[in-house]
Assembly symmetry: C2
Homo-oligomer: 565 residues x 2
Amino acid sequence: MAEKNENIRVIIIGGVATGPKAGAVLIRRMPHAYITLFQKEDNISYGTCGLPYFASGDIGTFEELTMTSYGTKRDADFFKNTKGFNVITGAEVVGIDRANKNITVRFLDSGKSANYDYDKLVLAIGACPVQPPFPIVLSPLIRSFTRPDDALHFRKLAERGQINKIIIVGGGFIGCEMAEAAASLWGIDVTLIEKENQLLPYILDPEMSRLIESEFKRKGITLFAGHLVERIELDQDEKPQVALNTGEAISGDYVFLCMGVRPEIALAQRCGLEIGAKGGIVVNDRMQTSDPDIYAGGDCVESKHQLTGKKIYMPMGSLANRHGLIIAENIAGNPVSFPGVLGAFLIKAFDINAGAVGLSENAAISAGFQINTVCGSFVDKPDYYPESKPFTLKMVYDKSDDRLLGLQAVGAGEICRRIDTFSILLQNKARIKDLLDFEHGYAPPYSEAIDSLHHLGSMAHARQKGIHFIKPENVEEKDIIWLDVREEDEVASLPWPGMQKALNHKLMHIPLGNLRNRIKELDSSSNIIIICRRGPRSYQAAVILGQAGFKNVRVIGGGTQAALG
Amino acid sequence: MAEKNENIRVIIIGGVATGPKAGAVLIRRMPHAYITLFQKEDNISYGTCGLPYFASGDIGTFEELTMTSYGTKRDADFFKNTKGFNVITGAEVVGIDRANKNITVRFLDSGKSANYDYDKLVLAIGACPVQPPFPIVLSPLIRSFTRPDDALHFRKLAERGQINKIIIVGGGFIGCEMAEAAASLWGIDVTLIEKENQLLPYILDPEMSRLIESEFKRKGITLFAGHLVERIELDQDEKPQVALNTGEAISGDYVFLCMGVRPEIALAQRCGLEIGAKGGIVVNDRMQTSDPDIYAGGDCVESKHQLTGKKIYMPMGSLANRHGLIIAENIAGNPVSFPGVLGAFLIKAFDINAGAVGLSENAAISAGFQINTVCGSFVDKPDYYPESKPFTLKMVYDKSDDRLLGLQAVGAGEICRRIDTFSILLQNKARIKDLLDFEHGYAPPYSEAIDSLHHLGSMAHARQKGIHFIKPENVEEKDIIWLDVREEDEVASLPWPGMQKALNHKLMHIPLGNLRNRIKELDSSSNIIIICRRGPRSYQAAVILGQAGFKNVRVIGGGTQAALG
């Protein structure tokens, strides 16, 4: 039903993204509504996702994060005069009385409290850092990285040269971004500790994550993956010291705890709103909580994954903004639904771009899909064009019906196009055939004539036609011949490392162009794995061997580019 | 019906993209097929689209365009040894006998001819330059730009410094690319002549094209748009001289005729294959000509537009490669269809990226659609992030059912993501709502929190809710107040040019943040047009005025960024 009360009273709790967006849209739809946003901090709206880049110095002043694009500060006056609704800062909402539809606000300056009635309430209360599961001593040099103060404090010390070595606990988004921030601009010696065996666990498969880890190592980051922190204390010089479960103790000038965030739900919980299995406030596709007069959005809610139908917690500024719009439309009586999330993300790691959308191989298997994957290495412009840069893609799809499930992308080359394009494909429940029908924008300064997504579609078809792809780490048999079909000079400049030696494998080198002539050097009953630089030559070689009656031939999909980073 | 003859004889006429791709795929599908590709030139497969960048010197040697990514020349040996089919160069196909299913080949070296039988024939014979409709004298300094020789000849003279001034006739893709090639690397003085009133006519709307023209002017290109060439002769110094219909005569050291290409159809015509209204060989969605044993693809065929269902001629290397795949699959008995074209393209013009997909406003109206458009200006990263760059989008959609019809993009910022993403949206017959549901990849080094396509969707909704957008050139009334809602310093650094003076319009300046307080300075019955830098502030100002009872308020969608370039 459309909302008919033009003088509706709407209270929004929380600034930054969802809250201000909801207020701004709602006042356009319902100019006579009484909208008030309460924010505990002084800053109402700032680019939270920009904090690592302010910490790094890429962004000059914190104020830039609080400004509109035309240099106006987004303060209470801005929201009043430009957007047209009230914002009250320094005001902490301490209670919600759902029966009487009012909230209790405590004003931080005066310490006084007051009640405010609402017809509709919007919870945009965000997230808070996950508490470490190990003991830490209290110190300003050991802190999480979620708030402006965290960035300001670090940057002040970094500017003064007081941080020579930093220890970052947690290899997720913020941990990786802070590793680059500290090392790249401030030249700080960085040690990164992650409890899983890879960076960005849960969202990238291990072999894709390894390409980022290679870049971190190239840039001098010390990485402890698969290491648990046991405690953090201060050493005799009053410096933070991180003790690992292996017995090692690492000292540094500063420790950032980047173990992720969890939904801020205390307020919602106290007033009895439903909390989900992922720890977030439960909302329906109109962003309504279990109380239909209370909406919630942004980092305090959990979402439904579009592909699995399961709940997922995904705190992203881009989703938070879209939540704000959906909430405003629904309060205004426009029944607009949020479609759920696909898990799109991007992250910059020094000179490497990475991103994904949809399900990783591991996530798809956990969700019960019967899947295939293909992995390919590409360049973002033709090889002949200057500044052509490589990247590697891994695609996951349902092997029963060819439906696309996910894409992961890592490399120095342009990957954002691929992630965005694939996101629209997932939104449309696309299949392999849609990749082959994709008409990409083509010109040599921007693209290859055949797009990488088209190639992935062809690779999936090749699988169906009997080409076997394999990941290097899945090669477990003993009696293997590795057939390297690269040219002589390529092999010389990037030799294939000694894996085959370790497993007592045999290594042969026959450039693709000579393979037909030299095929008699190979035994057609051998167990052969073919590798080249990016994959297509191996695929062609597999076709040649297959046509010559070889039965046990497999291909390393993305070649050395995917295997070696 | 699947083809059962494993020893089928397939002849392919023509190299470059479609032919080699068809051969390479087909021999994988049918290892026992007899495949022969005949090519008149010595070079079989090269990046035609790279020729302007070889001419410019961006690409060092012509050989780079003929190489695989691993440095092997794609010559006859390469196709034999690596791909597994025969290629014969220096061999011109002079006739097709459809009744007896054979072709006549003339060998250029010996002058001798021979006949070859086929079961299936593939025409991949490309395009040839459109002949000028005006008289020209024969001179090596007056030539088209379609073949390697054209690029080689120009570059040789440019390297020797023998070209100080070049005249380019035609402002389409190649004309624009060559203008940049000549000016940017060789420092040549460039005059560009286009008979229509804009660059890239037919594919960009005039106001989007103007943003490229502004860049050309900034880079010193002399542009004669809307000028017809009457003749090209040699002046008394034996230099090319171009006479215009205005009476002007322009002399230069070199003339490139870049008036587009047309399908090469002589061979097809002589053997009675159907030629379409757009001048190309007619093919069905399996790429079969009017003779089911003869396939055709690439620049010699005309295509069906996916949105209009009408025929269109679109010579693009990316489509040619896809045609090759479709042809091979169908000959191999796999019934795969080509879905038609969407018209995706990209072009680089100095520091400006441009592209489009789907229908322009003019093309959509010509095709009979009832349309709306929205135009917005954006940045490709948050304003606070270093190297954030602007771009402008124009979207066309069906006003009856919100179906998306086209996107045009121009600017220094990243636009390829938007074109590719929109192409997938068009492929899926998407509507405005799909833009709002789009989950883009977000991180500050790559994107804004709210994607530009999401903003376009919001603008389309705003239109439906009564916000009127207008293009500056469509402001025709006399009695207008232009309301500039930018900040003082923005107005000082980029004053709005004197259009309002010319039409005796009034200009008022009230920064958005002051509008509510100063609204009494405006008369609610006035005819007001609001402008800012990128559009959102004007939209907000229109909401404020609308809520105050103003009835005649319109907004310049993309602000000064779209209007001034």
